[in-house]
Symmetry: C2
């Protein structure tokens, strides 16, 4: 059945999606397992770092009052390796041998670099030859004072964040649980890897693609399957899944064919859109099933990939209250693309910088919706606006860095 | 003990490292578990894609000979959903209803879009109103012909690569095993997360940082520990580890202090360097222990992080015969940095693009070697060359995008 669809702009489709939100539970997880999660609460320093006055150099600690004029001899009364503490108090012209990173004795006010000293005939004595004006001591809290805000909620945890948590001795961290996603392909033509190829059938490459993309971008895939070729069964399955997951992604069945049930299903629920002014992927459709987003992507690999990048990534980031890492900017096109279309044309592309840091892009592989040979080479998407005559080499184009 | 060290340039240090290589075994792993691995053999298409002539539209398949002039009525003799095959042969003015993606009957030469047809009073008949010049058929092998090269060895597997493998029905893939790394911290001042903080001691944040960075960049961490504070024990442990891993990364003990045994150990083995003309991290040292790289990084978090990014990433990529994802380019500095140094100053930074795709960078947080508060915010490294007067806002600087 052919129903008229109203094609909306990419931005409008995104806005409609992002009207919806859903609170995700906070969970405490071990810091060691927290890579890729999003911090759910502002974090404050539990202690100061450094928590003691820290020597910046290997050398000798002396009292402030004994700082110059040099040269001058000092009696060495102790030795403080890292992790140890000098138990006594420094007297006049007394020095303590100290290592970089070790705790400066409370009575000391200055660190003399080892390179500015020399040994003497008496092993108990050191001769200080010269010094800098700086005291060469990192004061308590010079990195972080106790109670300083060290991290805002919504930040995604990376290797640097792990080291920050560890520096404070933290063992667990409060994060948002990952949104749960179900991925479903449609179409009786689909075979799974390992099955023998049959005439007229194809291997399902979209479901595994979407599973990987979802995991990569902060979601967890809790269900993966294939939808029946019958509307009532599909509706029943989706309604049940909507109770269990935060996000349902389907691929295929959004066009005008006899078996394109997804097109009807979005109309039967809280309808968001069923046509976008873009190619590939114009029949990309979406609806809310309760508070679960149903995102019905095209079954064409190119359209499926682009639909994920332009819509699902933003929605996952919104659920996690974090910022997507996809960067929207402009770049210089390195190759003519003159095909005309009334809709925006989203090309898979690759970017590079010239010697001065100017961004350039080139389409990679085929622009066909059905083409799957260039997804692994794609590092950005290029937008050739609709109702234009395409773009020439040297023109500036809108792009998204993935 | 203070020994004169010869400081070499960053590029020279990198060249010395990359003289060494070590063949890694190839292993066959399931495609589903292959994200982040590197393909060990050129891959060729086991079948053509599509493997049959594929309809580009929902509509009707007709013989080439019956293509126009339209309008004209056809007898509908069959229906081919996706995944099915029309068993018969088309006769004159016979049409088969067909879906997008379905196999075009061998006897058909043209697909008419559904939108260009209308039903008639007779349900067995369809009226074709008009058509395009194109045949609307994807020929066999239009994406890939059987035996086409689909992937070169050395490519890192991403979500797009997974979909490519799956499209060919592949279940396993031959990859290089990941390089095995040992990570060791030195210093009796180090506590582990969860231990109570003691005066003069600090929590070890470098070991967890390096573990995460190594995993993120294609290595596996098979050993993680703390080195003794005694040279002979360290030598014994490193010698043994060198038999078991491909890469040993230590943090701390590279300076001139009494407990800086790593400085001696690199001299006792196949020496690469023990001083680099950069800050932070000038005492970064390296040696080969047989065919295992010993990379001795500074114990300062900033220096440790930079040392990993500038040296270890390249070495791992070389072992895996792949290209590092770190991009070296230039960008416009957004803030004065006027501190002078005889060595190159490597700043942790963040980048952004302006409206036209020009890259800008700003230092983030502290430039101090000991500072750990900005690693999680760092998206690039900025090089302020030695023997300069620093750089002013608006100057073009060399950067590495991480």
């Amino acid at each position: 059945m052919i129903k008229a669809r109203q094609a909306i702009k990419i931005e409008e489709a995104r806005d409609r999606l992002l009207q919806f939100d859903k609170p995700l539970d906070q969970i405490d997880i071990p810091v060691d397992d927290s890579i890729g999660f999003v911090v759910a609460e502002d974090q404050y320093a539990p202690v100061s770092i450094p928590s003691f006055r820290r020597s910046l150099y290997d050398g000798y600690a002396i009292r402030k009052e004994d700082d110059g004029p040099f040269p001058k001899e000092f009696t060495v009364v102790g030795n403080v390796p890292c992790g140890f503490v000098f138990p006594g108090e420094l007297g006049e012209r007394e020095a303590v041998r100290i290592m970089t990173g070790a705790k400066v004795p409370d009575s000391a006010g200055k660190i003399i670099m080892l390179e500015q000293t020399e040994t003497t005939e008496n092993p108990q004595k050191v001769r200080i030859l010269d010094t800098h004006e700086t005291d060469n001591i990192n004061p308590i809290g010079s990195d972080f004072r106790k109670e300083d805000k060290i991290l805002s909620k919504g930040e995604k945890i990376n290797s640097g964040t792990i080291s920050l948590f560890k520096a404070f001795g933290m063992e667990t961290i409060s994060v948002y649980r990952k949104p749960k996603a179900a991925v479903l392909s449609t179409g009786s033509e689909l075979l799974s890897a390992g099955e023998a190829l049959q005439d007229g059938k194809i291997y399902d490459s979209n479901k595994p693609l979407l599973e990987q993309l979802l995991r990569e971008h902060g979601s967890e895939v809790t269900y993966s399957g294939q939808l029946a070729d019958e509307k009532e069964s599909i509706e029943k399955e989706l309604t049940q899944l909507a109770e269990e997951v935060d996000l349902i992604v389907t691929t295929g069945g959004v066009s005008v064919g006899d078996f394109d049930f997804m097109a009807d299903i979005v109309l039967d629920n809280t309808f968001l859109f069923n046509k976008i002014q873009m190619r590939p992927g114009s029949p990309t459709s979406a609806a809310m099933l309760g508070d679960t987003l149903l995102m019905a992507l095209s079954g064409n690999p190119g359209a499926c990939y682009i639909g994920f990048q332009l819509f699902i990534r933003s929605y996952i980031s919104q659920l996690l209250k974090t910022t997507d890492t996809m960067i929207e900017t402009k770049a210089v096109l390195e190759k003519d693309y003159l095909k005309q279309s009334s809709f925006d044309r989203i090309l898979r592309g690759q970017y590079r910088f010239d010697a001065n840091g100017q961004l350039y892009v080139t389409p990679v592989g085929s622009d066909q919706s059905s083409s799957l040979g260039n997804l692994h080479q794609t590092t950005c998407l290029i937008n050739i606006p609709g109702h234009s005559n395409g773009h020439k080499r040297g023109d500036t184009v809108q792009i998204w860095l993935l």
